[in-house]
């Protein structure tokens, strides 16, 4: 089956501006799972600008599969009822440019590299940026990933999180500069 030509021109994106917080906040939005639930991991990092300064007025969204690799499709992605895993979270950066989520390690089909889909928004960023946050654990799957393999090692490193000794995930995002994160077009 072929894809028919598009008939409608896409609405262009704009910056979220400086005052988004009260417009997009929802209850426990960065707690995709309860921090004390079994299997909960902390995914966090710092967003920096081209001068290496933290970006305190940004937010990140993640959407990830459950640990078994299934992508949640239950309605109510804002719901935080402690038994439905919606896979979706949103986190504002704090004054130090740091964002944090409590979530689960996403699963992936056998042999495939697991990742969170992620989107970054900020004051000063004219449009949102898509990226991925890969889990670092399965090195064979990471090596076999065709997209990661198409990148030079420095680029690839910007997409793979670091596992801390506590089992958490650390992942910084650079909007610009030497260690600029790889951002995606689909």
């Amino acid at each position: 089956m072929t894809v028919p030509p598009r008939t409608h021109r896409a609405t262009p994106g704009q910056t979220v501006g400086p005052f988004f917080a009260y417009g997009v906040e929802f209850d426990r939005m960065h707690q995709v799972v309860d921090p004390y639930a079994p299997g909960a991991v902390l995914l966090g990092g710092t967003i920096r600008d081209g001068a290496g300064a933290p970006v305190p007025d940004a937010f990140v969204e993640i959407f990830g599969a459950d640990s078994d690799g299934r992508v949640p499709q239950a309605r109510g992605a804002f719901r935080r009822d402690d038994h439905t895993f919606t896979g979706f979270g949103r986190a504002f950066t704090n004054e130090d440019g740091r964002y944090e989520f409590f979530t689960r390690n996403p699963g992936a089909p056998i042999g495939r590299a697991a990742f969170f889909a992620a989107i970054v928004y900020a004051r000063g960023l004219p449009d949102r940026l898509h990226t991925r946050i890969y889990l670092p654990d399965d090195s064979a799957a990471l090596a076999a990933d065709t997209f990661l393999s198409s990148l030079v090692p420095e680029e690839r490193a910007t997409l793979v999180a670091t596992r801390t000794p506590e089992g958490h995930l650390s992942h910084d995002i650079s909007l610009q500069g030497e260690r600029e994160t790889v951002f995606l077009a689909f």
Binding site: M1, V3, P4, T7, H8, R9, A10, T11, P12, G13, Q14, T15, V16, G17, P18, F19, F20, Y22, G23, V24, D49, G50, A51, V55, F63, G64, A65, V71, P72, A74, R75, G76, A77, F78, T86, G87, P106, F115, F116, A117, I119, R123, G124, L125, P126, D127, R128, L129, H130, F147, S150, L151, E155, L175, Q176, E180, V182, F183, L184, F186
Partner: protein
Amino acid sequence: MTAEAIAPPVNSLAAPDRASQREITAEIGELHAALEQRERSGEAIPSTVIDFPAYRSSILRHPTKNLKLVDPETVELLSPAFGQRDVGAVESDLTIQHAGEPLGERLTVRGRLTDSWGRPVPNQLIEIWQANSAGRYIHQRDQHPAPLDPNFTGAGRAITDDAGEYAFTTIKPGPYPWKNHVNAWRPAHIHFSVFGSSFTQRLVTQMYFPGDPLFALDPIFNTIWRQKDRDALIGVYDHDLTSEEWATGYRFDIVVDGPDATWFENEGE
């Protein structure tokens, strides 16, 4: 009044070079001309350009490398899912969230959410936020010395119906000053955050109002460099949406775009 109270507010949002409006307007013109030239020579340029230095705070915040084209995987082709139960009916009416009615021009904003093939996107979330009728946000970092309205917060949510339609009741936001350059003012706008049927279709944008004299002066609006794309962000006055003795009506249709694979994802449903 104490000295502290009359000291100018410290505002980290101010651009250091304090350019004039004339300079910024000239920069916008030059940037648009350069983009047109690049497109004429065959380059594909997105609707919103992220490298747009007339918007001063973007200078250190936009990636300088090209976006990497990637085949979307399942999690990117699906979307966080919503339903009618996720948003209360009062959340789409920004004029009834307090004890009294907010001041300002009452509006109905209605529109349809579709994909690039014109297919409605039902059961998805639209979030909006805006300044009050005096051009002041409730956000604590907004230091514009215009009054807050005790009866207006300025945030709302709605879920699209089976036809992809949404509607909000609100008041018309005022234009407001910002510190991009000297005497910089944003045209009146409502911020929109929209979920499509695929995470790749995620959209955050702003809706404007017809005939705003600030359009040509505003570097944020002009990060959208083609006139026809800017026009798509201007709500259309619709007298059929205007209700007698109550509110004027504007239509704002939204099209979310995703890769070809999103066509197949939605055909199955």
